[in-house]
């Protein structure tokens, strides 16, 4: 089950500078674990207390996984997983 995972600039230190990596897994969590096995440190930036970190968005193809099962969101062969830091802030 090969998927392409697109890595944002800020996390490329964990992938030897690569913009995208190949990974396998049937869910978003399995894909993250698979990358973690080869590129240590990435998972801690994405997952906190078994949930997706609020500072980060993960998409399977065009869908934000927050609305599709979160870390359990299904991933199929040939899918593209995109990781993007949320752009947010404010005076609060």
């Amino acid at each position: 089950m090969a998927v392409t995972v697109s890595i944002p600039t800020i996390l490329r230190t964990h992938t030897d500078g690569q913009k995208s990596v190949e990974a396998s897994g049937k869910t978003v969590l399995e894909v993250i674990d698979d990358i973690e096995a080869r590129h240590g440190g990435l998972k801690a930036r994405l997952v906190k207390e078994d949930k997706l970190h609020r500072f980060v968005n993960v998409y399977v193809n065009d869908e934000d996984v927050r609305f599709a099962g979160g870390l359990d969101a299904e991933v199929k062969d040939g899918d593209t997983v995109t990781i993007l830091p949320a752009v947010a802030g404010g005076a609060r």
């Binding site: 944002p8 600039t9 800020i10 500072f55 968005n57 998409y59 065009d62 934000d64 927050r66 995109t82 993007l84 830091p85 949320a86 752009v87 947010a88 802030g89 404010g90 005076a91 609060r92």
Partner: protein, 141 residues
Amino acid sequence: MTGVLRIRRELVDEIVAHARRDHPDEACGVIAGPDGSDRPERFIPMLNAARSPTFYEFDSGDLLKLYREMDANDEVPVVIYHSHTATEAYPSRTDVSYASEPDAHYVLVSTRDPDTHEFRSYRIVDGVVTEEPVEITESTE
């Protein structure tokens, strides 16, 4: 890192106009530029999905579209801007905790005063805020 934000007058005007338009809610957006150039060129106002006077967030679908578009154009977000509508143009703790583009200039505009605005720029790297001078250029060089 020491630096300076060099930006064309018309882009500054666009950011300020957007901030005024959305006041009292916070306005936000990006100015994209060629990868590696550090030159802000393409003004892209974004919708504040939070529609709040104290918080902003790019809509997640819009964010994906934006990054795909920039990727296809070999662009990066040279400037990431937002407004504070009742406080000074200085990054809040929330701003710092979310900041995740170490190469971007984080521009803050304050619209708390109806007549004059504050326009300031910062680097935010690993939680450290460094203000930098803003150099406004009058025409395309």
